[in-house]
């Protein structure tokens, strides 16, 4: 029975997994007995160890029974059949027990498994919960950090500092009571204040813009008004021209000259400006004018000409002439030369008037490619002068302005860069072209503000006003004195050629009343002749006689004695004195190398010339020197000791009063004339 019921209940038990048997029992089995047998509950009651013991026992019993059965069966079949059946029944019972035990074991296993499963599920659930919670925690933490990092836009706005805020903001905004304690409120208040301020400033800005527009419009209007004024002023000026002429105020003329001056090249412009300024300020007798063609000057600047690039110019020319006959090389070179030496079409003229109405005309030209200025000079005299033969060179335009400053002979171009330009076109030196181009003196460059340093070629030399100004006064003075000295010499030469030494009344006291020696001849000699004379070597060696100077020969005679005097006249007469070299022909040839007294005579005129300048400005130096030469020749000849071997009286009796005839180791004669006592003594 129990086996049948348990067989019936077995499928129910298997189906209902894990459900407590009591409850199920109550609901499911309605059609069964109230008392049923639940093996699950039995499991809880029985002890597994005892069950195991039972199992072993049962197994042992079974083994014993089987063994008995075996034994019985082996003995015989009939006797033991009942015992075998008994044993069989017993063994069946044991088998039943085993089965039950097996079932119980299975049930226990299942229960165990169910319990484990339950526990595991619980643990899993908790685990999940834990994970969820952890996840949420992390999420919340992230959110928190995000919130903490959050920068609101209000922090980017620059607010005024706290002190200023409390100072400036009105109390209803700043609410110091609240805001000082709470930072949040404080920030809010500050933002409020900022907003208000910005609104105010935006309004101001709009106002300013509108006012600016207004003012711009006003400016426009005034500009138009001014531009309409210019033509009206012009018409007024035109109308005033006749008034100017009537009142002799030639503003317009000066204006026109300044207009023309605008087209002058820079050095000529500097010269023009400085000369007119000087003329207005210091020297009323200096007149400046501009000559030449303004249109040509304007035409110079229209197409940009590269005058440095000779090659391209000549190439262009050559291309043009392939159709025609090619010009010869010489003609090409000539053209290049002409191009290089081209003059600017405008020139500046300076007229210097002197007190006696003689005028020195200077015309200044500018050579564009060479960047030098040249000058041509001309003299017009008030009275027609009789030209003495020897005075031919004195006023010639070529040599009139020679060596105005020492060493400035004007034959070489002062711009060192020109040498390279000349080499390109085969010009040896500028002196070949000086007669038509004018002289490039250094003082002319200085007047034009061009300053060329001595030994270094420079590419461009710009015209400089200050250089011109500092030289203007000195140069004009030198020019005047040069003209006047030359004119004075001119007059003197005319008289000297007739054998008369003109001595003015102021200088009469330098000489005794009676001088017997006379000037017989006065001629001009060329430099080569002067250099060949034997007694002029010392002067040439001392550097006092160069080819820019003027040379003359004077002959003074008394009786049989002839005194030759070779004179070198420095262009800077009379500041620089003429130098005499003497040779006396009387009983032999005596000159400075063999006769100390001739040396002393030379020193009387060469060294002590300052006494002979005469009244300022000293143009009588030359004639006074000649007169003194006559005087010392007299003294020399008269104080010669009488030679007792020669018969007859002395050729020159002593008429001059002398204190002593001989003095000093050189045994010199008394050449110094004392006024007013009228005797001769030694220096």
């Amino acid at each position: 029975m129990s086996s049948e019921s348990s067989k019936k209940r077995k499928p129910k038990v298997i189906r209902t997994d894990g459900v407590p048997a009591e409850g199920k029992r109550g609901k499911g089995d309605t059609d069964q007995d109230v008392r049923y047998y639940s093996e699950e509950s039995e499991v809880d009651l029985r002890d597994p160890i005892k069950d195991y013991e039972l199992y072993r026992e049962t197994c042992q019993e079974l083994q014993r029974l089987m063994a008995e059965i075996q034994e019985l069966k082996s003995r015989g079949i009939k006797e033991n059949a009942a015992e075998i059946d008994e044993r069989r029944v017993q063994s069946c019972v044991h088998f039943m027990t085993l089965k039950k035990l097996n079932r119980l074991a299975h049930i226990r296993l299942k229960k165990g498994r169910d319990q484990t499963h339950e526990a595991k599920q619980k643990v899993d659930a908790y685990h999940l919960q834990l994970q969820n919670l952890l996840y949420e925690v992390m999420h919340l933490q992230k959110e928190i950090t995000k919130c903490l990092e959050f920068k609101s836009k209000h922090e980017e706005i620059e607010l005024v500092s706290l002190e200023e805020f409390y100072k400036e903001a009105p109390p209803e905004i700043s609410r110091p009571a609240i805001t000082l304690t709470e930072p949040h409120q404080q920030t809010l208040a500050r933002l409020d204040w900022e907003l208000e301020q910005r609104k105010r400033l935006a309004e101001k800005y709009k106002e300013c813009l509108t006012s600016k527009e207004k003012i711009l419009k006003e400016i426009e209007v005034k500009k138009e008004y001014l531009s309409s004024l210019q033509p009206r002023l012009n018409s007024i000026m035109q109308a005033s021209l006749p008034v100017q002429e009537y009142l002799f105020m030639p503003f317009d003329q000066a204006h026109k000259q300044y207009e023309t001056a605008r087209h002058l090249p820079p050095p000529l412009y500097v010269l023009f400006v400085q000369a007119s300024a000087y003329g207005q300020a210091c020297d009323k007798k200096l007149v400046v004018a501009i000559e030449g063609s303004v249109e040509e000057a304007k035409a110079l600047y229209k197409p940009p000409e590269d005058s440095q690039d000779d090659e391209s110019d000549s190439d262009a020319e050559e291309e043009q002439t392939t159709k025609r006959r090619r010009p010869t090389l010489g003609v090409q070179l000539d053209d290049k030369r002409k191009e290089m030496l081209k003059r600017h079409p405008l020139s500046v003229t300076l007229d210097l008037k002197c007190k006696d109405e003689n005028v020195l005309h200077l015309t200044f030209y500018y050579l564009m490619n060479l960047n030098v200025m040249t000058v041509k000079a001309k003299v017009t005299t008030a009275v027609e002068m009789t030209t003495a033969i020897s005075a031919g060179d004195l006023l010639s335009p070529d040599s009139l302005l020679n060596c105005l400053y020492p060493g400035d002979h004007g034959r070489k171009t002062p711009n060192p860069a020109n040498q390279f330009q000349f080499d390109k076109v085969g010009i040896l030196t500028l002196s070949d072209y000086v007669t038509e181009l004018g002289h490039p003196y250094v003082w002319v460059q200085k007047l034009g503000g061009l300053h060329f340093p001595k030994d270094q070629p420079q590419h461009t030399v710009a015209a400089d006003n200050s250089l011109s100004a500092s030289h203007m006064e000195l140069t004009v003075k030198l020019l005047r004195s040069r003209l006047q000295s030359r004119l004075a010499l001119h007059k003197q030469f005319a008289s000297l050629e007739h054998g008369v030494v003109p001595v003015s009344s102021e200088c009469q006291q330098l000489f005794p009343t009676k001088i017997v020696s006379r000037l017989v001849k006065w001629t001009a000699i060329p430099y080569e002749d002067y250099a060949e004379l034997p007694y002029t070597k010392d002067v040439i060696e001392a550097g006092l006689a160069e080819d820019t100077h003027l040379y003359y020969m004077a002959l003074i005679e008394r009786g049989t004695a002839k005194l030759q005097a070779a004179v070198v006249l420095n262009p800077g007469y009379s500041t620089l004195p003429p130098v005499f070299s003497l040779c006396l022909n009387w009983k032999g040839e005596r000159n400075s190398s063999n006769d100390d007294n001739i040396r002393a005579m030379e020193s009387e005129v060469n060294v002590y010339y300052k006494e002979l300048w005469g009244p300022k400005p000293g143009y009588q130096l030359l004639t006074n020197q000649l007169q003194r030469l006559c005087m010392v020749l007299d003294v020399y000849l008269e104080t010669e000791p009488h030679d007792p071997s020669v018969e007859g009286p002395k050729e020159f009796p002593q008429e001059k009063m002398c204190l002593r005839l001989v003095r000093g180791p050189l045994r010199l004669k008394p050449f110094k004339f004392n006024y007013p006592q009228g005797f001769f003594s030694h220096r």
Partner: protein, 232 residues
Amino acid sequence: GCRELWTRRPPCRSSLEVPEINALEVNQRDHWAVLAGGDGAVRVLDLESGAFTHELRGHQDLVHVVALREQLPQVLSGGEDGTVRLWDLRLGSQVQLIEVHKYQECSRPQLGKWIRCLATESDWMVCGGGPALTLWHLRSVTPTTVFPLAPPQHHALFHQDMVLSGGVGPALHLLQLNGDVRGRVPVSPPALRSLCLHPRSPEHQVLTVGGNSPKIDVFTNLGYRAFSLSFT
């Protein structure tokens, strides 16, 4: 940068012309100097006291040159008047007078009678100028040798056994005592005025000459000019 140490002016008669001093010789041993004056007087200046001790008059015209005789306190002077006079300083007066121009051998009247150069050594004297350069024996007052130099000589010296002289003409003459011209050395100045030998070292001969030019010639060997000093 030079400063004048002292000045002594010999007394002069008139203020119109102050006489020049043409020559000066110093006696180093006894510290006096002899001056040849332009007024014809030979003066002796005592260098220690600064006073003019002697004034020896006798020349008719200016005195050109003086020379000292070594052994005795005697002074020779030559002047424009053509005389050479011997003065004794102890006696303070002229002892001897030689009128050079009166001797036929040496006088050259066409050049004049003035005596410009004078040198003496023991008993011998050489003098010249207008008259030809002549060697004299003083005790017998005879001209022994006349040197054949045409131009007037301005300065002469005794040197070893020779006489050196220079004058008009750009040459220094080396003359032997018998009258031969041993050498004629060209110099830079066209006329020589002064010759000077280094006094103290006999082994290094240095001769300097100066004259009518801005150059002074220096000789280390009397045969040729070594170099010139020039003024700039």
